[in-house]
């Protein structure tokens, strides 16, 4: 997934001289080629998430399109106030890319987990939130955010995770149906997509069928699909590598609670 991000970004930077990428000293063995290719438009700002978020805003206020990369817990939580005030409220063209999100850094413990990042980014005005489930969704998300002029958060998880789709997805803004069934509807976001797919396959072998939707964009959410499913299905299940509070679980519940669905 990270490779897909990198390839997409490199292609965009080749096509568009207005793009600048900054990293708060993350991306060892990832960004070296980009650094060589774009010596002025790739900047390592050092281990400075707070000022880097403001620098991203300063670059965007000067008319540049900014991709800001660092590890998910640090780029969303340590500099939350800078992201809130300088990037989100000003509605700037900055894409925040949180690497190693969820439980990705599982051996490193809570310091490196990002289980609250979706919740925090969802809160902010103008911010769109994406959690691609494989490299194909990642390519789709990159294409989509490139066209945006407002802030986005992309949650990146596993490197080398399985590829779910055989061909590009047509839209990342609508829930993508992978299975259609009778027992329940499952919404999954992010890196657990391949796991959810396997669950659906295993259940199918036992003659239990479920509907499975991938949700690459959590904010704004595809409310239409959620409400349609909530009306026809007794059980709605969400899967994510994030706290339910503030995450996809909350987001789906909010849509259903605000409607008349029984």
């Amino acid at each position: 997934m990270r490779t897909a991000f990198l390839q997409s970004l490199t292609t965009l930077m080749e096509q568009d001289k207005n793009i600048v990428t900054i990293t708060a000293d993350m991306g060892f063995s990832v960004f070296e080629e980009m650094q060589q290719k774009f010596p002025t438009r790739f900047i390592n700002t050092g281990v400075t998430e707070q000022s880097s978020a403001s620098i991203a805003a300063g670059l965007a206020l000067s008319g540049m399109k900014v991709f800001f990369y660092a590890q998910a817990p640090f780029i969303t939580m340590r500099c939350f106030e800078q992201v809130r005030l300088d990037i989100a409220y000003n509605n700037l063209d900055v894409t925040i890319v949180g690497a190693s999100s969820g439980f990705y850094s599982n051996q490193l413990g809570v310091s490196h987990f990002a289980l609250e990042d979706i919740a925090l980014m969802r809160l902010l005005p103008n911010m769109s939130v994406f959690a691609p489930g494989d490299s194909v969704e990642m390519q789709g998300v990159m294409k989509y955010v490139y066209k945006r002029k407002s802030p986005s958060y992309i949650r990146v998880t596993k490197a080398g995770s399985p590829v779910v789709y055989a061909k590009p997805v047509s839209s990342v803004s609508t829930a993508i149906e992978l299975f259609s069934g009778d027992e329940a509807t499952v919404f999954v976001t992010g890196s657990l997509l391949p796991v959810a797919k396997k669950v659906a396959e295993n259940l199918q072998k036992k003659n239990i069928t479920i509907s499975l939707f991938s949700v690459p964009q959590i904010k704004p959410l595809d409310e239409k699909t959620i409400l349609r499913e909530a009306k026809k299905m007794k059980k709605i299940i969400t899967i994510e590598d994030h706290y339910i509070t503030g995450g996809l679980g909350s987001a789906v519940s909010e849509v259903i609670a605000a409607s008349n669905a029984q």
Partner: protein, 272 residues
């Protein structure tokens, strides 16, 4: 600078202090001490340093000025109005319901406001981002950021100082409004910044010092800026509440609105 020119600027400062007093009292607003502290700096910047286009204030080649101490915005608005960048009518509605002129610098489309500030330690790194953008885009305009001494407590400020020095951002000028008072009391008692000049020098900056309330001193100091090789910081020694005896060096004027007797004294002292 000629004596006559200095006298003209000093007269301007009194007029604008009076204007700020009226804006703040009308809106029952705060931070008059902060506004008075940096007024000479703002007048000087807008008269001699910043390349501005009053008839086309969003001109892409304008110098970018960020008031990082966004709570002193009444002073900046008074100068912007004096330069005919914002209207007198807008100024009269400062901080009143429905006005776009908010009591802390807010990036909401008003000419002359380049960033939302007031949460401390944001303005300088935003300025660093703008300076980097100007370098990447090969633009000749400069970026000037006015920060408070209190903001020098913030880690993000020091991150940005480190970054600007490292990237040799010679298109960046920072001015510290060093009035030696922060929110709770004296800087030297709360979190001492000294030796301040040595700290910035160690971070690879050109450092100049001046009396920030003296046009004569400001004129001499600004002549020394070369904009070569390094970013420049001017440590401007100022007096909080400058210009009105009962406001000077008293922290309560970070918060209070002058009323009755205080207002009378202020009005009496602000006569040309």
């Amino acid at each position: 600078m000629k004596k006559q020119e200095i006298q003209k600027l000093e007269k301007k400062a009194v007029i604008l202090r009076k204007k700020i007093l009226s804006m703040i009292t009308k809106a029952n607003a705060s931070h008059i001490g902060s506004a008075y502290s940096c007024l000479e700096l703002l007048i000087f910047l807008y008269s001699y340093v910043l390349k501005i286009y009053p008839k086309n204030p969003f001109n892409k080649n304008r110098d970018r000025f960020i008031l990082s101490k966004g709570w002193a915005i009444s002073a900046l608005f008074s100068v912007l109005e004096d330069k005919k960048i914002i209207s007198q009518k807008d100024l009269e509605n400062y901080c009143l319901d429905g006005s776009k002129l908010i009591g802390c610098a807010t990036y909401n489309g008003i000419a002359g406001i380049e960033a939302t500030t007031g949460s401390m330690g944001h303005g300088l790194p935003i300025g660093v981002g703008m300076a980097l953008a100007a370098k990447i885009q090969n633009k000749k305009y400069k970026i000037v950021v006015l920060i408070s001494d209190g903001e020098c407590d913030e880690g993000s400020t020091w991150e940005a100082i480190l970054q600007a020095g490292h990237h040799k951002l010679n298109n960046l000028l920072v001015i510290i409004d060093y009035n030696k008072l922060q929110s709770f009391g004296k800087v030297k008692d709360i979190l001492d910044l000294e030796p301040l000049s040595a700290k910035w020098k160690a971070f690879k900056w050109n450092v100049l010092e001046t009396n920030g309330n003296s046009f004569k001193d400001l004129s001499k100091t600004f002549k020394k800026i070369t904009f070569k090789n390094k970013p420049t910081v001017i440590i401007a020694h100022t007096t909080k509440g400058k210009g009105v005896s009962i406001f000077e060096n008293r922290n309560e004027w970070h918060y209070k609105t002058p009323k009755s007797k205080e207002l009378e004294i202020a009005e009496k002292e602000l006569i040309i």
